[in-house]
Symmetry: C2
């Protein structure tokens, strides 16, 4: 089914039909109607490959994320998709598996496919740089959430500040000795969170007891780190985690070793993924305005000059929000029910099981 056949059926030229369907130029109402009717009748659907070859635009944007199984990313992806849909653009989504080589291949593949732009969350803030720069020299590129260098547009969240707020909150709860279960600082977000953590511990805890465990953003790493933590002589006052997944892993192992959260140690996550609210205890975490990040990223993608040397590089930093939950509220002692006492016997997002045995 080609446009030529539609044209023949309608008794028009292909050009007119093309114009009628796309609305790119004015066409006499009568001919317009004939064209549409013929197209409808034949069930004509334009071949976007041919169109793309001619117009040098595929109507497709590529997105490369490090790991789609990290529940943080689907949310950001959905936000992006929603925005793109609004402007009739398709999303070509790729998962780099947090691997720089893979990431490079995907970006190259996207470029071959002649996508109109790329959204990328670079897995390595250093090694991904060349790939990002290369891509940016060919099509508009916006870095989202993570970044590799500052030569290419970026939209994300102030991780440093957010993590500092986490520590400050913990310090206010009386914590002085901290442990940080970090993710390797290959991801820019991880590096910035670490930095924020360090800064804040210096400031609020006078740099006292401070242990660091560096791994990745996975639950399994959280488990491993918790085992190491437990192997030490004493527990810190609080365990700060690089993200929710890590925190869940830590929580799992702590619990299976009889360590109570928040009774024995406070615990925090990051990202405020959906599950953070339903673990036991619910996790204090950091919520990022992903909807806005997605919107801004797509917006920027349309603005970025084609060859990235037109003007100043745009970067947008949003501010995150601390979400305090029971994992950092040591009101009750271990084994006790929550809330510890008080008039309210029921309900409430941060409340839970009544005393045992009844």
């Amino acid at each position: 089914m080609t446009i030529r056949q539609v044209a023949t059926t309608a008794g028009l030229s292909p050009a007119t039909v093309s114009r009628a369907l796309s609305g790119s130029r004015r066409v006499a109402p009568e001919l317009q109607a004939r064209a549409l009717a013929a197209a409808e009748q034949l069930g004509y659907r334009a071949n976007r490959v041919a169109r793309a070859l001619r117009t040098r635009s595929t109507g497709t944007v590529g997105m490369v994320v490090p790991n789609i199984a990290n529940p943080f990313f689907p949310v950001i992806i959905q936000a992006v998709e929603k925005q793109l849909r609004a402007q009739g653009t398709q999303l070509l989504l790729c998962d780099s598996g947090d691997d720089v080589r893979q990431e490079a291949e995907l970006v190259h593949s996207l470029l071959e496919h002649r996508i109109d732009g790329i959204l990328v969350s670079p897995c390595d803030r250093v090694s991904s740089r060349t790939t990002v720069r290369l891509a940016a020299s060919q099509v508009p590129v916006v870095q989202i959430d993570r970044r590799a260098g500052s030569e290419v547009a970026f939209v994300g969240v102030d991780q440093d500040r957010a993590m500092a707020e986490v520590v400050e909150h913990l310090a206010r709860q009386g914590c002085r000795r901290f442990a940080y279960v970090a993710s390797s600082s290959r991801a820019s977000t991880a590096a910035e969170r670490s930095r924020g953590y360090r800064r804040a511990v210096q400031r609020f805890a006078n740099g006292s007891h401070d242990r660091l465990y560096a791994g990745d953003f996975s639950m399994e790493w959280g488990r491993e780190a918790a085992r190491r933590l437990l192997a030490e002589r004493d527990l810190p006052d609080a365990v700060v985690c690089a993200n929710d997944l890590v925190a869940l892993g830590v929580l799992d192992v702590l619990r299976s070793h009889g360590v109570d959260v928040p009774g024995d140690v406070l615990l925090t996550g990051f990202d405020d993924t959906e599950v953070a609210a339903v673990t036991w205890p619910p996790l204090t975490s950091v919520r990022q305005p992903l909807e806005e990040v997605g919107r801004r990223a797509v917006e920027l993608l349309r603005t970025v000059p084609d060859r990235a040397d037109g003007g100043p590089v745009r970067a947008t930093l949003f501010r995150a929000e601390l979400v305090v939950r029971r994992s950092t509220q040591p009101g009750a002692r271990p084994g006790e029910s929550w809330p510890p006492a008080g008039p309210r016997g029921q309900a409430g997002p941060q409340e839970a099981s009544r005393a045992a045995g009844s």
Copy 2:
């Protein structure tokens, strides 16, 4: 950077360079070398749009899933991607938002993009039928996980049987009165799970007390259902949930109302998502062999005849595996640490097929 420029640089014709790069025909070793050298030197990368127009193959497969934020899907997507990568195919991933209209648009869009095949998890087992059929009339299509009709190839898991095993397990634990927090049966998986549940309750519990709540596959629906459940006079022995997300929502509300799991009521999920193992209590769930499902689906995609009327329609059904965890093991009393005693885990009549991450 076109092939013509490479040809000029190498002092060859475009045709020869094309042949040299793709290896589609024999080329004299010397010329081959010259062509490759020139391509390398110029950093030539073929324009896949032009190639696709000529060869009528884009080297791209589309995939449409109902909701990427349901942690079940990323896992299946990664399995599919891995397989596709092995054969040098790009994945064009789309999220239908569990909406039939959206799904239809996405499929049409994919067809316009002239993808080589479609993997789809239809969101509605009835209404999605026309879309699936239409797609299958144009390109190879394989339904994955969910299905809409049996005229188009399918790869999935025996949901009915798996859910029956869940109920059987609960019955063995002494449960007689069940409640089922279902997802609306628009998804084929949901319908099959419901069926398996009903069948098994008939058989193992003599059709005794049986309450049904129908919503969707979300955590929020789980919360709502739990509220309704609590509004009833009495609790059932067990609450069976359509998937893990729903179970998490149920668990959250039960806990906040002081209901102990598994002390007061047993609870099960489905899908064995990563979080199922780290909730408190860990969730008994059903693990599906997603790696194999993904592999088989991609394999089938290459086998399916182009116009879906060549031969018998292929369907593959895998068997799932019950993963028993503490949420259905009322051995220990609430508030106690876990494992309650002994060297490791609890040895009940049904042992966990996998240790729950202790």
